[in-house]
Amino acid sequence: MQSPDADKATSFDVAFPLAVYSLDALKRAAYAMMHRISVKFDISNEHVRCIITPVSDKEDAARLERDFLREVIDHDLRISIEAQTEQTRTAILGLTFSRTGLQG
């Protein structure tokens, strides 16, 4: 799963099968960890290869990979919950803002 990047000694990459993880989850995880890593995406038909470069050379690569994977899994679950609850959320917001006198 992990291999050294030719251009940057400290970079490593992790491949994610698109059948299991959404690209959105990967992007969110990269955003959430921008204080620790920068991530480039290399997308093929079945996989996304995330090329990860630590922001600091003091970070342990194995730990970063583990934390990134956890972020991805968490975001995948969040995206699934958001999709399932979107209509209910809209209904709650609709009720919340109904009859407020702000509708004009």
Binding site: M33, M34, I92, L95, T96, T100
Partner: protein, 487 residues
């Protein structure tokens, strides 16, 4: 016929499964997570339980099923009113928005007798009267304040040292009261002062108009005087004498105090808390330093990093918790505000923790020169040369031009936490604020990249710390509930 349905009926209802209601989750520590719903009710659960729940595998006989159901995280055949209840709770949280601006801050002068190196408002020397607000500017500002739809109007006088322009404070209060005969608003007046110049005249004015006094007390004498130099090096002595005098003449609760944390404060949080107890205050607001004004120019802001402030904060909080558990009632006010958001349906009006942001909506600042700022921090930023949040001038702009100012609307719109990257999926979003001024000052962006944001890091750590503490001790939970309902 039986008066009650059979047990089997309820079991059948539970066995029919459940639907998820909208919720977000965030890791607390290791495998422990916190999930919150749209109204901010929260549940602490471990990752495997969270997964089970989200994938509809949680048994109705699991103890956390009842907790999730009672806090509106799920809907089953037995919970028909849940969506209405959630809407009412969310509506209650957002209700203060309809009142619009209640807090009107008047910078009566920039002059000050102190020369605090961390001063966030870039004070002027106390002999330069061109930094005083004029009566004409005050009258125009009062016009705008009364355009606010809020039934409560709070007028707060700030500086510099506000008492250096006491005559203007008297003028404003009398004019506001004269107009209020027909306006019929609920009025409150606050003078923010270092108390060094407290006079008989000030006391009489405060007595006549029920004015509250807000002062600065940074800690024990040596620390306070180091942070707040003035001629004679007697700031602490004057502040303490002033506090006692105000209490003696106007009543115990007529004076409150705020502290500012500097690098010198970091190692002495217990001594700072003890000083507040010695001066008979009922609580303390352990505040971080803001990245504005002289704090930046003198490198005071850079002198300590976020992690050191958090260590300071939690050492102080744990000390205060311990005092309470031993029977001495004392409150940390920042925690109390956050807990009010976490444990009640109500919303404290603290500008930094509002979303939509509190700038212009919860508070507005009329500067000595007539410029109007969206918040106190906006004014501090302007004194550093960045007038991005100057939303107009009382002499040249109408109420509509000021409060529908493009910069203000863009800042409010783009920074709204529920739709900001990272905030929108964060379990702490219902408790947090959108502080576009802070993010503009530190990242030149109203929204801010939250993984790089000291505001986000600080508040996330405080939210996690509070939840962890109340989750691990029923006594702390009970105490936090008292704090939440205090204000």
């Amino acid at each position: 016929m039986s008066r009650f349905k059979t047990l089997q009926h309820y079991e059948k209802v539970l066995d029919a499964g459940y639907r998820l209601l909208p919720f977000r989750f965030t890791q607390l520590d290791g495998d422990t997570y916190v999930a919150s719903n749209m109204a901010g009710e929260f549940v602490v659960l471990d990752r495997s339980k969270l997964d089970e729940f989200a994938k509809f595998k949680l048994s109705p006989h699991d103890p956390q099923y009842s907790e999730l159901k009672s806090k509106h995280f799920l809907l089953d055949d037995d919970s028909s009113a849940t969506i209405d209840l959630l809407s009412v709770k969310l509506r209650t949280k957002l209700a203060p928005l309809a009142n619009f601006t209640a807090l009107h801050l008047f910078v009566t002068t920039l002059r000050c007798d102190h020369s605090c190196p961390y001063c966030q408002v870039s004070r002027a020397n106390d002999d330069r009267q061109e930094f005083d607000m004029s009566q004409e500017t005050a009258l125009k500002s009062i016009d705008l304040a009364f355009r606010s739809p809020s039934p409560v109007l709070k007028f707060e006088f700030q500086g510099g040292e506000s008492l250096l322009n006491l005559n203007l404070i008297r003028f404003i209060i009398e004019e506001v009261k004269r107009r209020n005969v027909s306006e019929q608003r609920d009025l409150q007046f606050v003078i923010a002062t270092n108390l060094a110049l407290l006079s008989d005249e000030t006391i009489e004015l405060a007595r006549e108009h029920d004015i509250l006094i807000s002062t600065s007390l940074d800690g024990p004498e040596e620390l306070h005087n180091r942070n707040r130099p003035r001629p004679g090096n007697d700031s602490y002595q004057r502040t303490i004498e002033g506090i006692h005098r105000v209490r003696r003449e106007l009543g115990r609760d007529s004076v409150g105090a705020l502290m500012t944390t500097t690098a010198a404060s970091l190692s002495q949080v217990k001594a700072i808390v003890d000083e507040y107890i010695a001066q008979d205050f009922r609580g303390i607001f352990l505040r971080p330093l803001s990245p504005y004004g002289f704090a930046i120019k003198t490198k005071f802001y850079q002198a300590y990093d976020q992690s050191k402030w958090l260590e300071f904060y939690f050492e102080g909080l744990d000390y205060i918790i311990d005092l309470n558990l031993k029977g001495f009632a004392f409150t940390e006010y920042y925690a109390a505000m956050v807990l009010r958001k976490m444990l009640t349906p109500f919303q404290p009006g603290y500008v930094d923790l509002l979303s939509p942001a509190g700038v212009g909506v919860a508070a507005v600042v009329y500067n000595y020169d007539g410029d109007v700022y969206a918040s106190d921090e906006s004014r501090m930023l302007a004194e550093m040369g960045d007038k991005s949040f100057c939303i107009g001038n009382v002499h040249s702009n109408s109420y509509e031009e000021i409060f529908l100012n493009d910069t203000l609307l863009e800042a409010l719109d783009s920074s709204f936490a529920a739709s900001a990257p990272m905030c929108s999926w964060c379990a702490f979003e219902p408790y947090c604020g959108a502080d576009p001024v802070f993010h503009h000052a530190t990242q030149s962006d109203f929204v801010g990249k939250k993984p790089l944001s000291a505001f986000c890091n600080r508040n996330m750590s405080v939210f996690k710390g509070l939840i962890e503490r109340m989750n691990s001790s029923p006594e702390v939970r009970e105490m936090f509930e008292r704090w939440a309902y205090m204000s």
